[in-house]
């Protein structure tokens, strides 16, 4: 057969061929798989092309052949879903085979097999490094072609697991998406996350029943897009708090390729963020409650973690820190003014990973301040005082959060939590950073409401002037923190982004959040704390709960503008600053997330102040941070609950604990195992 110049020939399996291909392995796609696998083979050598075609047809694949790369590419582009795998020669007159490899990997993300008569090691290496999923030496034997379907399955599996991950962004990821990975990557893909997280993920997966047989070092991550999160929320709502275990959530979501681990991580993340938020907003009061709660539960969970230092170093200091943080944050929020809708939208988009570019990432960095400029007007404090139980429960939430997150992600969250909860400056570099951020924030604050905070928390740290931190340092640390956080936030932890996003949006519903702020926060209601606390006693920590609407951290943040949080020193840096700034970490990591939250909150309808039962869990709001219950929302623009009121804080905590149990030992990449630092909080 003479193909002529630039011709494309498509041949089907011969009618005489049997339909089903006997494969020893699992036919995941269909009984007849891999029969019918759609292969595009590109080779300028007509002899080879013909032979390959015949071989592939004999394997019962559906073969399309082309002797020109340009043609092949346009075919692929026209029909993105028309092929399952591409086989290409390396040396071709119109285009280098590696270029085709890159294009296919970037544009269509199909597995590409390279082949050549050249078996020199460097060429083979080049193929591998460019992302080829296999490299065949000519002459190609039919045996080699019989198994190419494995690459299709492998790739699909990765894609499903890390759906939309290529949108996730972090600096590294962004880079990697632009160029082929430099390190060896068994599974061809130009959009793999950084090696570390991928490796971590691989380890995680190896631990579970969802073992991935692939030997890839990197895997795309799941990007928790708004839609996906909506599905997640719906599933949780459907299941009910008591039953919202990752496995069931996964089943309900019915998202192909999504794993239980993905869901578990997401759940954990949300709960954690909610807690952080609660604690931030609730401040000292909340923290106290968490401590109490943790104490009570100390017998239940055995997780100890490395945050001991931070927490235990100085209980009061911690307290102070906590409150100071809150105060700072609140003030920062208050002070910064309203975040323009545009920015919010952009931030949200960025946070959600849609604009997976550095600029998108940097945007929030730049506008961090704005993040918390949740306009004072929007900040509202609910006057209700929540029982201590809630905060305790909140703490418990953290406690039970399984640590399935990526190391970086966890580390960053860790940072956040550290800054929130333990501004105990003990030379902890990260803490320093956080403090620096806080300092920075405080500098931005216009009001200083340290009084209460100081009163409550002061323990000697207060003396530190907030402005002691040099501006550049603050900025630097801020930036650095941001960088740190950026990874998890935008990338693997894109989930976090969305979550926080939501929570932020709903932040304004402070009222809904029954943050039991101690004296200082008359307005702070910490739904979480209230709920959690009450239920904590009776709840089955093992996880009978769903998501308590405790993720009002951000809500509280927003609403707490009037809060007079004294800023005791947070560690060494914060001293009684103006605490108008929100703790750096919050700014940084949650900020990213918050950005989204903010914007989404703006979009959401008012979130009524819910009493104990009111939905206040921002994070568990579906879709674009839709308000769970409009009627519960007072007239605020921020939506606060992701889940309907059924999810109380205690539910959240229970869910966390339950999840933690179910997840089993997830090794904690955090310095602290999940949220156990709170465990160590003395009551």
């Amino acid at each position: 057969m003479n193909l002529g110049v630039g011709s494309v020939v498509k041949t089907m399996s011969g009618a005489s061929c049997s339909v089903s291909w006997k494969s020893g392995g699992s036919d995941k796609v269909s009984d007849q798989f891999p029969a019918g696998l759609r292969v595009l083979v590109v080779d300028d050598d007509p002899t080879c092309l013909r032979i390959l075609e015949k071989m592939l047809r004999n394997c019962h694949y559906e073969v399309t052949k082309s002797n020109r790369v340009e043609l092949a590419l346009s075919m692929l582009r026209e029909n993105r879903n028309g092929f399952d795998i591409v086989i290409s020669d390396v040396h071709m007159p119109d285009m280098d085979g590696f270029k085709l490899l890159e294009h296919v990997g970037l544009e269509m993300d199909l597995p590409v097999i390279m082949m050549s008569a050249d078996d020199s090691k460097d060429v083979v290496m080049k193929g591998v490094t460019h992302g080829a999923c296999d490299y065949l030496i000519k002459p190609v034997r039919i045996e080699a072609l019989k198994n190419i379907w494995q690459h299709v399955i492998r790739k699909k599996k990765h894609e499903w697991k890390d759906r939309d991950f290529d949108q996730s962004t972090s600096v590294e990821d962004g880079d990697q998406q632009q160029k082929p990975p430099e390190d060896v990557d068994y599974s061809s893909s130009a959009n793999e996350g950084n090696w570390k997280s991928s490796k971590r993920r691989k380890e995680e997966e190896d631990e579970t029943e969802e073992r991935d047989d692939s030997s890839t070092l990197k895997k795309p991550r799941v990007v928790w897009s708004v839609e996906l999160h909506q599905q997640f929320v719906q599933a949780v709502n459907q299941l009910g708090i008591d039953k919202a275990v990752p496995k069931k959530i996964l089943e309900l979501m019915n998202v192909p390729g999504l794993t239980r681990e993905n869901v578990a991580s997401h759940l954990q993340l949300i709960i954690f963020l909610q807690f952080l938020y609660d604690v931030l907003i609730g401040g000292n009061h909340v923290l106290q409650k968490y401590r109490l709660y943790l104490r009570r539960l100390s017998g239940v969970s055995q997780h100890q973690n490395g945050l001991n230092n931070s927490f235990m170093g100085h209980p009061e200091a911690t307290y102070g820190t906590m409150t100071s943080f809150n105060g700072l944050e609140l003030q920062a929020l208050a002070a910064t003014g309203q975040l323009p809708a545009q920015s919010l939208a952009t931030l949200q988009a960025a946070a959600l990973g849609r604009s997976a570019t550095k600029s998108a990432i940097s945007m929030p960095l730049v506008d961090q301040r704005n993040l918390f400029s949740f306009e004072n007007p929007k900040l509202r404090f609910s006057e209700g005082q929540q029982p201590l139980n809630n905060s305790n429960k909140q703490i418990n939430l953290l406690h039970g959060i399984p640590t399935t997150m990526e190391p970086k992600q966890l580390a960053d969250l860790h940072q956040s939590s550290q800054s929130f909860v333990a501004m105990n400056m003990q030379g902890n570099a990260r803490m320093q950073q956080n403090n620096a951020l806080l300092m920075h924030m405080s500098q931005q604050q216009q009001q200083s409401s340290r009084a209460q905070m100081l009163n409550e928390t002061n323990n000697g740290h207060v003396s530190r002037p907030p402005l002691s931190m040099s501006q550049p340092a603050a900025v630097l640390s801020r930036n650095s923190i941001v960088d740190n956080v950026r990874g998890p936030i935008y990338n693997p932890v894109s989930q976090t982004s969305s979550i926080v996003d939501f929570s932020l949006n709903q932040t304004t519903e402070l009222q809904n959040n029954s943050f039991p702020l101690v004296s200082s926060n008359s307005g702070m209601s910490t739904l979480t704390s209230k709920r959690l606390l009450q239920e904590e006693v009776n709840s089955d920590i093992k996880g009978s709960r769903g998501f308590p609407p405790g993720y009002d951290i951000f809500e509280e943040l927003h609403q707490q503008k009037t809060q007079d949080w004294g800023l005791p020193n947070i560690g060494s840096n914060f001293g009684a600053s103006d605490h108008s700034s929100i703790p750096g970490t919050l700014d940084v990591s949650p900020s990213m997330l918050v950005q989204q939250g903010i914007s989404s909150m703006k979009k959401n309808g008012p979130n009524g102040i819910a009493p104990m039962g009111g939905p206040q869990l921002n994070l568990f709001s579906g879709g674009n941070l839709l308000p769970v219950k409009a009627e519960q929302l007072p007239d605020t623009t921020y939506q606060n609950t992701f889940f309907p009121e059924q999810f109380g804080q205690d539910d959240l905590m229970s869910a966390l604990l339950k999840q933690q149990e179910s997840v089993g030992q997830v090794e904690t990449e955090f310095g602290f195992d999940g949220y156990s630092p709170l465990d160590n909080l003395p009551v």
Binding site: R50, A117, P139
Partner: protein, 151 residues
């Protein structure tokens, strides 16, 4: 000749081609690929090979005839010839290509020309052999016999 005799000749001839290194296992692969849906597969592929090779050999001749030989180009041609010859199992041709590529690397025009000569010879040889083989097949079929499979 009667069928049996033709078939025996065929088998023997095939065996000798393998023995003398004109063909290798890849040619057997081609034979195995042939089936009822493509009864002329081997002939078809080998014909493609002939066409392609002759074109490449012409290109090589021209490339080496240049005052300034573009060895990269020469190497590219040889590489392709190597690929197609290996795909059909023309072992000796393929081996010549390997040597040829070494000469290209050394950028030794004289050596390349010698290699080219060698390749042309080998190519003509294997072409002749294969054509003989195909004729034998046709005779067998014409005599009503089946073409025996040779391993």
């Amino acid at each position: 000749m009667e069928v049996g005799q033709l078939q025996r000749s065929f088998v023997e001839y095939m065996a000798s081609l393998f023995r003398e290194g004109f063909l290798d296992g890849q040619f057997s692969q081609l034979q195995q690929l042939q089936d009822d849906s493509n009864p002329e597969f081997v002939v078809e592929v080998v014909s493609l090979f002939f066409e392609d090779s002759e074109r490449l050999l012409n290109d090589l001749t021209m490339a080496l005839d240049q005052p300034n030989v573009d060895f990269k180009q020469v190497d590219a041609h040889v590489h392709q010839l190597k690929g197609s010859s290996s795909s059909v199992g023309a072992q000796r041709v393929k081996n010549c290509c390997v040597l040829f590529r070494n000469c290209c690397e050394e950028q030794n025009t004289e050596a390349c020309l010698r290699c080219l000569q060698q390749i042309k010879q080998e190519y003509l040889l294997v072409k002749n052999k294969l054509q003989t083989l195909f004729e034998l097949e046709q005779q067998i079929v014409a005599a009503g016999g089946a073409i025996p499979m040779v391993q």
